[in-house]
């Protein structure tokens, strides 16, 4: 039994010729998705017994519920049940139990679920929901985190001190601060005293929505045997099961009673991590036992009641010497975390540990504050806090270079973090190809070569910024896999990571394929069902290629050991002399020996006397990063090892911007990421393209606007713009850097989120380069650019 793959990475790395690792293996889910065969939750047929639920939402950001009259809704033919907060007086949450299944006496954001109607069809449910009368006493909402921090601010969660939370959160009772991550290293005052230039400024980043094509949906059924099954569009089947089990424990449900099935998912980007609206489905199923009930979000609900990327106000003070050495950094991050922070507080935490960016900074003071507001719950979004703080930090780094009279790329190279440098929380930096990434990105955009537009109304500008990110995970976040051979030598592998479009299933097949010499097309990797597939924490944090890849590699290595043992037992060859090639076992010492896997991996090997040796080859593997710890000094963050590794890189753009209209056209975008090992370079190029586009959208078009009641003003694609195929840069140049990660499968580390992190600051830099105006608030829309150029901005 292979316990863990840690320490075995070298063994995998040492394989001399790699067959499928590093190749652009076609996606194993590709044909199903192209033909429409891939099934999503909303496609599943639950038959005529299926019930539909519609949710009654708060129209106010902050209000007291004085009464709910559901009698008119209940009287409507076809209505099965109306439930309110009285039926489910429970809280839930992933890192902190501060979110309510249904609002109790208070609503804390516009869109919060107050009641739900279960009906025989969706139309009746919608109609009945509009007949539920809720009597509200409207209160003044707190929409600005800076106002929520005031001494006399109303407490959005007066019971904050009673909420259960993970040990690495530090809520401040009697305030709206749900968590305060403090990181301190070195002598800050000495660092600033040593600096020749000190630059201080503020940057603002608004809220954003994930905009996955598939809205959230859950179908839940509590059967007569008290078994709760949920079909969800989720990144996190096991974490969902855990959260459901904890929230519904008062109803007598425990982990073994709950089953979560997650078929293909139409995009996640963090929005389908953890549990948001799915808790409603889980709760409703318990009041209509025996019948499945479906809750399917509209696009508007998708915007208002799942998770949103949190807004942040950043204050940065940076010191550097004339020679370009950074001496000190003070970075304050005030997060607009929303009404519930059960997941979002960990975004705040992650940023608070890493807000130095990928730089060597001897003296650091970071304060990252998670502040409750009466806006929708903040939560995970691709980048997990890093996109947000990089906008200010990278803008500031460029401005500091300019203050020093240095080339911004040279300034970055001088201070770029390298392997062995000390991180802000005291640990050593992992292997990194950051300098190579900078050089290759600079070359790709002809950094240093001035370009002018043929059109006199337009100017050309360039920007180059760095990024880094580590997975933000509990220290014991782990992955597992089961592997079994079939009679024909094909394989079924089960894991519980999610195929979100990133190509995860293909990569898992490639890992097993490489070790077991079975081609990927003979491997099926299935989407999760918690009854069948083994544990996976969640598909977030860009960690599944690394973590679950290690688990699959461990299972494959275990299977290989078993294969060799059978051959040894039956044929007598030394196990150390055997190897796998072309779906056969071969032997170093006997070139004539070869035994196809299909001949024995289930039925075993027949002996001269007609008896058999072996039997079905089945294996399991797991991975847990046993070197991490979230325990550290709450005043300094020193003493722990919260992050497993950082993935680093650089991005650069060449833009053409119209001085009159402010419209920005991205002519070229290059992005280099150090992925350790590109298991599938085609998929990584896809990540780079998609991530850049998503990041460019956040800086060029998107932002969430709220009215004075905290109601979202643009909850549709009419007024919340994500890029179309017409908005793609003229040229995207993906650059793959490979500095192996010693504990990764074949040296791989994560890359999914990283590709969007630098997009916002590079646009800010390129606009400044082209037009001489520095915009310090996202998004950098055509409107903001034009008004700044015309001197009409405020």
């Amino acid at each position: 039994m292979t316990d863990t793959y840690v320490g075995k990475a070298d063994e995998a790395n040492a394989m001399e010729t790699l067959g499928v690792i590093g190749k652009g293996t076609p996606r194993i889910d590709g044909l199903d998705k192209l033909t429409g065969a891939a099934e999503y939750v909303d496609d599943m047929d639950f038959g005529p017994a299926l019930l539909h639920a519609a949710v009654v939402e708060s129209p106010y950001g902050y209000a007291r519920i004085k009464g709910i009259d559901a009698s008119k809704a209940e009287a409507l033919p076809g209505v099965v049940k109306v439930v309110t907060g009285k039926d489910f007086p429970y809280t839930f949450g992933m890192y902190m139990k501060d979110r309510y299944v249904f609002a109790q006496d208070v609503v804390r954001f516009a869109g919060e679920q107050v009641a739900a109607v279960i009906a025989r069809d969706a139309r009746t449910a919608k109609k009945a929901a509009s007949l539920v009368e809720v009597d509200y006493e409207v209160m003044e909402p707190l929409l600005d985190p800076m106002k929520a921090l005031a001494d006399d601010a109303v407490l959005i969660h007066p019971d904050l001190e009673d909420y259960e939370h993970v040990p690495w959160f530090f809520p401040k009772a009697g305030t709206n601060i749900a968590h305060w991550r403090k990181t301190r290293r070195g002598d800050l005052e000495a660092g600033f005293a040593e600096a020749d230039v000190i630059l201080e400024d503020e940057y603002t980043v608004p809220r954003y929505a994930h905009c996955a094509i598939e809205p959230h949906v859950v179908v839940a059924r509590l059967d007569k045997a008290h078994r709760l099954t949920l079909w969800t569009a989720s990144q996190s089947p096991y974490t969902q099961r855990d959260v459901f089990a904890q929230a519904l424990a008062p109803l007598g449900l425990s982990h073994k009673d709950i089953r979560v099935v997650t078929p293909y998912v139409g995009g996640g980007f963090g929005g389908k991590a953890g549990v948001s609206m799915e808790i409603i489905g889980a709760a409703l199923a318990t009041v209509v036992p025996g019948r499945p009930v479906k809750v399917r979000w509209t696009r508007e609900q998708e915007f208002t009641n799942t998770y949103q990327r949190q807004g942040v106000r950043a204050r940065i003070r940076l010191g550097a010497k004339k020679d370009g050495t950074i001496t000190a950094l003070e970075h304050d991050l005030y997060w607009d975390a929303g009404a519930y922070v059960e997941y979002g507080a960990n975004v705040v935490n992650a940023a608070g540990l890493s807000a130095t960016g990928p730089y060597r900074v001897p003296a650091v003071k970071i304060d990252s504050l998670c502040v409750y507001t009466n806006l929708p719950p903040g939560g995970p979004y691709r980048g997990f806090g890093y996109s947000e703080f990089h906008f200010g930090l990278e803008s500031h780094i460029t401005r500091m270079a300019q203050e020093l009279g240095m080339d911004p790329v040279e300034f970055r190279k001088k201070n770029a973090i390298v392997e062995g440098d000390t991180l802000a929380y005291g640990e050593a930096m992992n292997p990194s190809g950051l300098i190579e990434a900078i050089d290759k990105t600079a070359a790709a955009i002809d950094w240093g070569v001035e370009e002018t537009s043929d059109d006199p109304t337009k100017a050309i500008g360039k920007g180059l910024c760095l990024f880094w990110k580590a997975p933000a995970m509990p220290p014991n976040a782990s992955s597992a896999s089961f592997l079994k051979f079939n009679e024909d030598g094909s394989m079924n592998i089960t894991v519980s990571g999610m195929e979100l479009g990133q190509g995860y299933l293909t990569v898992m097949a490639q890992v097993a394929s490489e070790i077991l010499a079975v081609p990927p097309e003979k491997i099926r990797v299935e989407t999760p069902d918690t009854d069948r597939n083994p544990y996976e924490w969640q598909t977030v944090a860009s960690h599944v290629t690394w973590s679950c890849g290690n688990a699959v590699a461990a299972a494959a290595l275990e299977a290989r050991e078993k294969i060799y043992k059978v051959v040894h037992d039956a044929r007598g060859y030394e196990e150390g002399s055997l190897y796998l090639e072309d779906e056969k076992v071969k032997c170093d010492t006997d070139p004539d020996f070869e035994l196809p896997l299909a001949e024995f991996v289930v039925g075993g090997i027949m002996m001269p006397d007609g008896t058999y040796r072996g039997g079905p080859i089945v294996a399991s593997g797991k991975f847990m990063p046993e070197f991490t710890s979230a325990l550290s000094d709450p005043e300094t963050s020193q003493g722990g090892h919260p992050n497993v590794h950082y993935t680093v890189g650089a991005a650069g753009v060449v833009i053409e911007v119209d001085r009159d209209t402010g419209k920005i056209h991205v002519k070229k975008a290059a992005l280099a990421a150090d992925v350790g090992r590109a298991i599938n370079p085609v998929l990584i190029e896809g990540q780079i393209t998609g991530g850049l586009l998503q990041g460019l959208a956040t800086v060029l078009y998107e932002d969430m606007r709220f009215d004075a009641q905290g109601r979202l003003l643009n909850p549709t694609f009419t007024d919340y713009k994500i890029p179309t195929s017409k908005d793609v840069p003229d040229q995207i140049i993906p650059i793959i850097i490979e500095t192996p990660q010693p504990d990764g499968p074949f040296g791989a580390r994560g890359v999914g989120e990283h590709t969007m992190i630098a997009a916002a600051p590079v646009i800010g830099d390129a606009v400044a380069d082209a037009l001489g105006v520095r915009l310090k608030e996202m998004p950098i829309t055509a409107e903001r650019v034009a008004l700044a150029v015309a001197g009409m901005d405020d």
Binding site: A122, R123, K127, S130, T661, L700, R705, K721, A786, L787
Partner: protein, 294 residues
């Protein structure tokens, strides 16, 4: 998509049948492409007791020219207009505007007539129809009448159609030789509602027609600007004076799509560029139709 409330769905085959249904069912909503009506129904923004679908009425999908007049039927979609050689020949600025409406999928359903019946201030068909001096042909209980587009738009989402009336087409007197331009301010290159729309027609003899959309309660012509431009080339007018006339003509609002300041700024920029493009197109040059000037 769930529509919660009940309504009767009627599908007449002739104009008289349609008029009879509209007479029998006060407050009925006429349905053509449905790209506005169906989302409104879903959102309960309208709750008609009857929906009258005119898609079966023969001839309503025609674009034709007769007696010096171009006629656009009520079922003509923006995609139909884009594909029409007749439209390209006679009303290229309207075709240019059609290219900017929403997305291909929506343009395949959305009708030009429906666009001006919905009458939102940002409607893309409004400014070009104003500069082409189109008329809206209407049939109703009192017979037929022709409403000049100049008198059509009464306010945001309000037009001159009376209870029981049905639009039977849009007519445009053939403008003869001209250069046209429709410029649309949108937040990105994908589908968007205009934050500013500017239509310009340059006619021989330095005669200009100018209309704006999305910077007032209705799309409107700008006679003071036209007067200032008359007789000279587009470059002859003092830019500051032209800007001042733009500021007087428009009454933009601040909303989630754009600020008043940006709408003002862009109205000036877009007028300048549209005038230049229209004048150049009149002379056989300028950017090809469909290429946005901003």
């Amino acid at each position: 998509m769930t529509i919660a409330h009940d309504f009767a769905y009627l599908r007449p085959a002739t104009v008289p049948d349609a008029l009879a249904m509209l007479a029998d069912h006060r407050g009925a909503m006429v349905l053509a492409g449905g790209t506005d009506v169906v989302p409104w129904l879903r959102d309960d923004a309208i709750t008609p007791e009857t929906v009258v679908d005119i898609k079966d009425i023969a001839g309503f999908d025609a674009i034709d020219v007769a007696d010096g007049v171009l006629r656009i039927g009520p079922l003509v979609t923006f995609s139909d207009l884009i594909a029409s050689p007749v439209a390209a020949e006679h009303v290229p600025a309207l075709v240019e505007a059609s290219h900017t409406v929403a997305s291909v999928g929506v343009r395949n359903r959305a009708t030009v007539v429906g666009n001006i019946c919905s009458a939102v201030p940002s409607c893309d068909a409004g400014p070009p129809l104003l500069v082409y001096e189109a008329a809206v042909e209407v049939a109703g209980p009192g017979g037929e009448r022709s409403i000049p587009v100049l008198e059509w738009f009464l306010g945001p989402r309000t037009q001159a159609l009376a209870e029981g009336e049905l639009v039977t087409g849009i007519t445009i007197p053939l403008p003869g030789a001209h250069g046209g331009c429709y410029a649309k301010l949108s937040r990105y290159r994908g589908e968007d509602l205009a934050q500013v729309g500017v239509a310009v027609l340059a006619l021989p003899g330095n005669d200009y027609r100018v209309a704006f959309g999305a910077v007032g309660p209705v799309p409107f012509r700008a006679p003071a600007i036209e007067e200032r431009l008359a007789g000279g080339g587009p470059g002859d007018a003092d830019p500051a004076a032209l800007d001042a006339l733009v500021d007087e003509a428009i009454s933009p609002i601040d909303d989630v799509r754009a600020s008043k300041e940006y709408r003002t700024h862009m109205s000036r920029v877009m007028l300048r560029r549209s005038l230049a493009a229209a004048a150049a197109r009149l002379d056989g040059g300028g950017p090809p139709y469909g290429e946005q000037v901003i």
